[in-house]
């Protein structure tokens, strides 16, 4: 199993979830994060004082997937999150050793 972490633009989440559903993914976890990267931020102004904001709102999508689904999940996220502009985000893949469903105590790939 793999643990996939994707950083995406917030307004792409609906589209990402659609593609993931098509790829038969039924579980994921989302969190709000702030991202720093190549994408330029914006300036804020408070009573004449300028304030450079370069931490931009992003969403982090995390999912545990079976090894054989890794490719299709990466495809799905890439399609769903793509706008072609800087700041579209990245996908990271980490090895996942074990998964347990709390309700049943089941383990392994049937859990995810």
């Amino acid at each position: 199993m793999k643990w996939i972490v994707a950083i995406i633009k917030p307004h792409r989440i609906d589209s990402v979830r659609e593609y993931l559903t098509q790829a038969n993914i039924t579980g994921l976890t989302v969190s709000e994060v702030l991202g720093f990267g190549r994408q330029k931020g914006h300036t804020e102004l408070y009573r004449g004082a300028e304030y450079q904001v370069d931490l931009l709102p992003k969403l982090k999508v995390e999912l545990a997937v079976d090894d054989d689904k890794v490719e299709s999940v990466i495809q799905a996220i890439t399609h769903g999150a793509h706008t072609g502009k800087i700041g579209d985000g990245k996908i990271f893949v980490i090895d996942l050793e074990q998964a347990i469903r709390i309700r049943t105590g089941e383990t392994g790939s049937k859990v995810i």
Partner: protein
């Protein structure tokens, strides 16, 4: 002045003879009434309070958090701009003597020149009357802001509001309250069904059509980002409306008391009406529903408030709560018109409904206080009210469309796609509404 006085707001004009023989008499002798003045001074504060912060918070809470400041900015900047225009020519055009053209438009008193601390308008100082009227002139274009939120350019807001105030609000205000043709016809509009609600509502519909929907509408829903803020604003509207309708009696007496009672009962019944229909249709009543019903009840009772009984107010409110619920469904869900915060279905429909119902519920047979012009009965008054509604709808729709087209010729009306996605707060105003806790690094 007599002329003007008698044509003011609470329809004292016609009412003068009918309802307030004493104050009419007094006005001949130009005696200031301190008590009336105290109440209208209070009403000035109450009605400004309706826009700042009332309406601003109501609308701001209904927007998404990335646009909340832009909504507040629209309401606030409109209040400032209209105030200055009122000083320069607004009051004069609405309530000054237009001479031969007085049926069409007023004039004079530019920069409020010639008005002193001793000038009277009826039983109150003219300066007080002018300020009171200004608070109405402020809230009307601010109401329209509900139609264009989350996508309009800020410069277009200012341009539009200035032009619309000049070409729509001032004429309508003059026609109804400044001795213009509607007043001559005997149109009854106690506190602004036509002048405020129909005009704002119809303009909103036109704007929604010309501007087009927000990106994502109607597939993705755009829920209010802060219902507690919208609630606060709504509650302030209710309280402020006592000044709006009660102050329109222009006197501290039983008339103001009755107007407030009718207003209050309409708010309560409108709220319960909307709540009930939601409960039946969707299984659960909501805060957004109950406060929207309240606004519907209040907007609808406005033109009638000074002419009817408290019970009449409750009935009008109930009708309003139910009618406006369906109007929202039809406009937004069925016709898919993105009048974003539902200004037309609530204020426009409510204003039309209320203006017509005024003819019904003002009837002494319905417990009302009677018609403003002599010799009127329910049918004839209903005809006159229809005329007023039709005139207001047509004029507003036409002029709003022309103004938008004119502005569209010199600049874009909408922000760019990117800016709309990112939100107007940061892209148009360089600010964010909320910067909480840890985020503060």
């Amino acid at each position: 002045m007599k002329n003007v006085k008698t044509t003011t707001h609470g329809f004292a004009l016609v009412g003068a003879m009918l309802l307030f023989p004493f104050s009419a008499l007094a006005s001949e002798e130009a005696v200031m009434n301190g008590a009336d003045t105290a109440w209208i001074l209070t009403s000035i504060a109450l009605v400004l309070f309706m826009t700042l912060p009332g309406l601003s918070l109501f609308y701001g809470g209904l927007a998404r958090s990335k646009n909340v400041l832009s909504v507040l900015m629209h309401c606030f900047a409109i209040a400032c701009l209209i105030s200055i225009l009122w000083l320069v020519y607004g009051y004069g055009m609405a309530f000054g003597d237009g001479g031969a053209f007085n049926s069409i438009i007023g004039g004079g008193k530019y920069f409020l020149a010639g008005i002193g601390t001793e000038s009277l308008s009826g039983s109150i100082p003219e300066g007080v009357f002018s300020m009171f009227q200004l608070t109405f002139a402020i809230i009307t274009p601010a109401l329209i802001a509900g139609a264009w939120v989350e996508r309009i350019r800020f410069s277009a807001v200012l341009l539009f509001s200035g032009l619309w105030f000049t070409l729509v609000y001032l004429p309508l205000c003059h026609w109804v309250w400044g001795g213009g043709w509607m007043a001559e016809q005997g149109v009854m509009d106690f506190a602004g069904g036509i002048v405020v609600h129909i005009s704002a509502g119809v303009a909103s519909l036109v704007i929604a059509l010309v501007l087009g929907p927000r990106r994502g509408f109607p597939t993705s829903l755009m829920p209010p980002h802060n219902m507690t803020m919208a609630f606060s604003g709504a509650a302030m509207l209710w309280v402020g409306w006592f000044g709006f309708n009660g102050g329109s009696a222009l006197a501290a007496g039983g008339g103001a008391g009755f107007a407030i009672m009718a207003t209050h009962m309409a708010a309560a019944a409108g709220s319960l009406g909307w709540m009930t229909i939601e409960w039946i249709r969707h299984g659960k009543p909501s805060v957004l529903g109950i406060i929207t019903g309240m606004v519907a009840g209040l907007g609808t009772v406005t033109p009638a408030s000074g002419f009817i009984s408290p019970l009449g107010g409750a009935v009008i409110g109930l009708i309003a709560g139910i009618t406006c619920y369906w109007a929202v469904i039809i406009i937004k869900q069925k016709l898919k018109i993105d009048d974003s915060l539902d200004v037309f279905p609530v204020h426009g429909v409510g204003g039309i409904l209320g203006t017509l119902l005024t003819a019904i519920f003002a009837s002494p047979a319905m417990g009302g206080l009677g018609y403003a012009s002599e010799g009127m009965n329910m049918v004839s008054q209903l005809g006159v009210q229809f005329l007023g509604v039709a005139g207001a709808v047509i004029w507003t729709a036409m002029m709003t469309w022309i103004i938008l087209r004119a502005i569209g010729m010199v600049s874009e009306l909408r922000v760019s796609e990117n800016d709309e996605t990112e939100g107007l707060d940061v892209t148009c105003h360089n600010e964010r509404g909320y910067i909480m806790e840890n985020s503060q690094y």
